[in-house]
Amino acid sequence: MKKILELKNIYVGNEEIKILKNINFEVKKGEVLSIVGESGCGKSMTLRTIIKLLPKNIKILKGKILFNELDITEIQDMERIRGKEIGIIFQEPSSYLNPLFTIGNQIEEAIKNEKSKKLCKEKVFKILQEVGLPENVYYLYPHQLSGGMQQRAMIAMAIVNNPFLLLADEPTTALDVTTALGIINLLKNLVATHNLSVIFVTHDISLARFISDTIIVMYAGFIIEKGTSEEIYNQPLHPYTKKLINCLPEKYRKRERILTIEGEVPSLKNLPSGCPFSNRCDFKIDICEKYLPGEIKFENRIVRCFKYGNIVES
């Protein structure tokens, strides 16, 4: 299948802090890719790198981002691509909607290449219906909607231009379970009807398994494992992924104590010279603290661990 997006050897950060390190992955047309990982591992930064909306002090240091064969790192007028070819939705919908304007108004604003006001409005009503919102939402202000409805409105804004790629940054974290499932099902439908590619960021690996074809596990700014969702869930390779899956509540019976991963994520400012997970790892060997493991490829899987081979990151 056709590649929509490819990140090659991406480094993001500044002189003091390296947030993303050697990120490589690709997204095919119609594929749903999930990025999972603990808080602060750089999931949101990866998405913000793709639409080039990084904080002021953070830059793309190295690498290429090919979007439909166009290198995004080199183009100046990202406005052409944002919103039109790549849509994005965020974790906290209430703060990402402008409180002063009605939902209809804001969706209309998102619409590109539609001059006639009437057609614009029709398009809004159509998209509202598609994301499962009643028509009167057009006239409502963000604070008059529930969280789930706000997220649906955000989704409407993100897909109204029929983008190739949708970036979803923990879109269900702020919602309760049933509302969240509604949003997930909506996203799944949209993937099917619009032939949309999605990068779905979450810290919930079972949710990732449910929604996506491929899962990427990140740790301290590295991709440490990548594979299809079933592979990752059923046969995790990296010790971190294994522990992550062992922590899932559904793996336990009633009254059993849930295991947690002991130790702390190292701070990005002073990462150890070796593997960033070495201080928490049960399979640690000498080399782990000295060298950074490189990416080891098995067919379509990638893992970054000395357990599976002695490849050192250059």
Partner: protein, 351 residues
């Protein structure tokens, strides 16, 4: 606009009423040529400090007249400005009476006045020392006093938005430079700044030049504080997540500043606008009071009041000379109420 008014009516009656009073005042100022019974500089030498004329429907014999009338009055004691009513002489009030020719709204000439008498005089608010009708002069004075507020506020808000917006959005060196400039303006106590700015210019300017000068001086004083506040608001709003979302939608910088950032300052700035208009009216009055403002014979509320200051005879014998003060008060109160109401109404969270 309509929606805002509707909400104002529902939520805050007082400010809704104030809104209409303000509209009424501005309309009267605009139509001063049409409403006033006399030209603004017409001196009735026989009627200095004449008290307000009473308009009657019943005469001394308790007889009802459908057409209202006034009694003729006569100065009996020039030293004490005592007036006496001439009971025999009833002067009915007519609409569209003939008088001196004057230009209306700068467009055409007419010798008709909206209302007046054929004999006798109607001074609704009395006359001043020179026998000029205070009602007329308040109407014309409103043109100065009320427009100074609007124009001054527009200039200082334009500057405030521009400087504050640039400063806040772009930050860095530009911000630093502009804010130091603002601080220089804010350093001086505004009253002295006003006086010294006025002192830079010669005294013998034409009325229009003085008018412009006052507007400029007052807005130069007003913009600095505003720019600072708007800068602060822009600074915090541009970090809001909905601005990030707007950028993620691919909107242009221009659109983001003017559609998303500036409107989010409105709940503050529109209130601030209404609340700062009184400052301009008072500023003009203060300058006029010191004889540095609009010069006679052209009236402004400030220079009409300045005659009363330090003149006890006027204050005790002719309190109607203070009517411009009442109108200044009314305007300020109304703007304050309106500002209060708008603050509530402009925030969508309050609907």
């Amino acid at each position: 606009m309509k929606i805002i008014l509707k909400r104002l009516k529902k939520r805050n009656k007082l400010s809704y009423i104030s809104f209409w009073i303000i509209i009424f005042l501005y309309l009267s100022a605009l139509l001063a040529d049409l409403i006033s019974p006399y030209p603004y500089n017409k001196q009735f030498r026989d009627y200095p400090l004449c008290p307000p004329t009473r308009i009657h429907f019943f005469d001394y014999n308790r007889k009802f007249h459908l057409r209202p009338f006034v009694y003729e009055i006569r100065l009996v004691n020039p030293a004490l400005n005592k007036y006496e009513i001439v009971k025999e002489k009833k002067c009915p009030i007519y609409f569209l009476v003939k008088g001196e020719r004057r230009k209306i709204l700068g467009l055409f000439y007419s010798d008709r006045y909206l209302f007046g008498t054929k004999e006798g005089k109607v001074f609704l608010f009395g006359t001043d020392i020179h026998g000029r009708d205070i009602f007329t002069r308040i109407l014309y004075g409103a043109r100065i006093s009320l427009s100074i507020g609007i124009i001054g506020v527009s200039i200082s808000f334009f500057l405030g938005f521009l400087i504050g917006g640039i400063s806040g959005y772009f930050g860095g060196k530009i911000d630093n430079f502009l804010m130091r400039l603002v601080e220089i303006f804010m350093m001086f106590p505004s009253f002295y700044l006003m006086l010294s700015l006025r002192a830079v210019f010669p005294l013998n300017l034409s009325s229009f030049q003085i008018y412009l000068l006052i507007v400029i001086i007052l807005s130069l004083i007003g913009w600095a504080g505003l720019a600072r506040i708007i800068r602060g608001m822009v600074l915090s709003i541009k970090e809001e997540e909905y601005i990030l979302a707007a950028r993620a939608l691919g909107l242009s910088t221009f659109r983001i500043i003017f559609k998303h950032i500036i409107p989010n300052t409105f709940s503050y700035t529109i209130t601030a606008i209404t609340l700062s208009i009184p400052g301009y009216i008072l500023g003009e009055s203060a300058l006029s009071l010191l004889g540095l403002g609009i010069q006679e014979p052209y009236p402004s509320w400030g220079n009409m009041l300045s005659v009363c200051v330090g003149n006890l005879r006027v204050l005790s014998n002719a309190p109607w000379m203070l009517t411009p003060g009442f109108f200044i008060f009314l305007t300020i109160i109304c703007f304050n109420f309106l500002g209060d109401g708008l603050r509530d109404v402009l925030d969508p969270k309050n609907w």
